[in-house]
């Protein structure tokens, strides 16, 4: 019974870690690391809940018999290791829950992938009617009065500028915007967002997934800004392109305006860059992220390993070992 309890405790703790992670300055200093940590955090929550259900279900799972045969003994001990007070009923409930959760996650992921693909296909259809390809830069240009730029990820990668955007930016700024969008495409940032969307769709009531989606959306922009700044040489160019486009195309007060806070953070960060994270700290954070993913798996496997080591269960491995 300890295994599922540990796993659920771990999931709860990880859920609480979200708000702590959100306020941290280092995440903005190294957005790519931040992306990794948020992904590890959200994935580890889902994995540990699914594994908790699996471990409840293990006593009734045929795989356990197979495992025991493989170990040439120990079915009893193994069952005892994973046994729950509720017995078969609890185990069946665990099996159902593991199946439902797994299916739900896969289903939501599929929905997100397909709807993004469908939207893009539709978009490409109308885009091809209203755009022309600039032969020198290979970007698509749409004749429109709102200055903006965006990219279309996926198989047909394309970067789109409006004529107004080309007009208000100078050559260096245009290059900076182009590098930002290329960074989105090369970094497969749309997949990061699709993953985050899928978690939210699968678990709409759990706030940490919504929080992760907002943070990941913000962090991919910061990561792309860093790439566009090409080291530190053109940080101010990227910042000035942002301000220039924002000024030339500001939304009418009532319309679809989001608050400018996110953009302000980007400009400040580009204008006054913080020192990059120390290597040791990066390495440590990577280890922590890996541990977050490995821990639930380890916790689930421990009773089985304990069984193997228990003296009551003499295991004879094949001779090659």
């Amino acid at each position: 019974m300890t295994t599922p309890v540990l796993l659920i405790t771990f999931a709860l703790l990880a859920t609480l870690a979200g708000p702590l992670l959100k306020g941290r300055g280092w995440v903005d200093r190294s957005p790519r690391l931040g992306i990794l940590v948020w992904q590890a955090l959200t994935a580890s929550i889902v994995v540990s809940v699914i594994l908790a259900s699996v471990s409840l279900a293990l006593p009734v799972m045929p795989v356990l018999g197979g495992l025991a045969d493989f170990l040439q003994a120990c079915a009893m001990v193994l069952r005892a290791q994973y046994s729950t007070p509720g017995g078969a009923v609890v185990s069946m409930a665990g099996a159902v829950m593991a199946f439902v959760l797994g299916a739900r996650v896969l289903y939501c992921l599929a929905i997100e992938v397909m709807s993004a693909r469908r939207d893009r296909k539709e978009h490409i259809g109308s885009l091809s009617l209203v755009s022309r390809r600039d032969p020198t830069t290979d970007v698509l240009v749409v004749d429109h009065a709102v200055p903006t730029a965006y990219c279309l990820p996926g198989r047909r990668r394309d970067i789109v500028f409006t004529t107004a955007a080309l007009r208000v930016l100078d050559e260096q700024q245009r290059q900076a915007v182009l590098r930002h969008e290329l960074a989105h495409l090369h970094g497969h940032h749309h997949l990061v967002l699709i993953g985050a969307n899928a978690w939210v769709r699968a678990f709409p009531r759990i706030p940490i997934f919504a929080m992760a989606r907002v943070e990941l959306g913000r962090l991919v922009e910061l990561a792309a800004d860093d790439r566009a700044a090409a080291g530190n040489d053109s940080r101010l160019t990227v910042a000035s392109a942002l301000v220039r486009l924002a000024e030339a195309g500001h939304a009418p007060a009532s319309a679809l305006a989001a608050s400018g806070t996110a953009t302000l953070v980007r400009v400040r960060r580009l204008a006054a860059p913080a020192a990059p994270l120390h290597r040791a700290r990066v390495a440590l954070t990577m280890v922590a992220a890996t541990a977050m993913l490995a821990l639930p798996v380890a916790v689930t496997a421990t009773p089985a390993l304990a069984t193997v080591q228990a003296q009551t269960c003499p295991v004879e491995f094949p001779q090659s070992v």
Binding site: E112, A116, D119, R120, H123, I124, G125, S126, L127, L129, V130, V142, D143, H144, V146, T148, A149, Y150, C151, L152, P153, V160, T162, V177, H180, E181, H184, H190, L193, I194, N197, R213, V220, L236, A239, L242, V243, L245, A246, E247, G249, H250, A251, P252, A253, L256, A257, A258, S259, G260, T261, A262, T263, L264, R266, V267, R268, L270, A271, A272
Partner: protein
């Protein structure tokens, strides 16, 4: 598929540049100096455009005459309207360079930039 996409936009370009409705034959002639096309190919694509709501048509003898349902400007405005609106939802269809920002937040942006750039050299407030 790719080829048909090109043909769709070539046909719409022609349709938008004309003031009067056009038959399939006329569009075929208009496209022909540059491409070898069969009448049925053009007709199929124009039927598709009609089905998609981009062209409307009225009978003219045994055939139809087509014209765009919206001007290029209207169509572009609708397209870009969707693009701009998608800046604030979180679907992973497009990735924008920046979100639309309300006017009252612009001064702060400009200030943040100017502070870093130091005393404005050559630029005026």
């Amino acid at each position: 598929m790719h080829h048909l996409g090109h043909l769709e936009s070539a046909i719409m370009d022609l349709m938008w540049s004309r003031s009067a409705p056009a038959s399939v034959r006329e569009i075929l002639v208009g496209l022909q100096p540059e491409r070898e096309l069969a009448y049925m190919t053009v007709k199929t694509v124009m039927d598709t455009l009609h089905r998609k709501g981009l062209l409307m048509r009225e009978p003219d003898g045994r055939a139809f005459r087509y014209r765009p349902t919206r001007t290029r400007e209207q169509y572009t405005a609708a397209h870009m309207g969707e693009v701009l609106a998608s800046g604030n939802d979180r679907r992973a269809t497009l990735l924008h360079f920046l979100e639309q920002i309300p006017a009252e937040d612009l001064t702060q942006l400009r200030e943040a930039l100017n502070q870093a750039a130091g005393p404005p050299a050559g630029t005026t407030q």
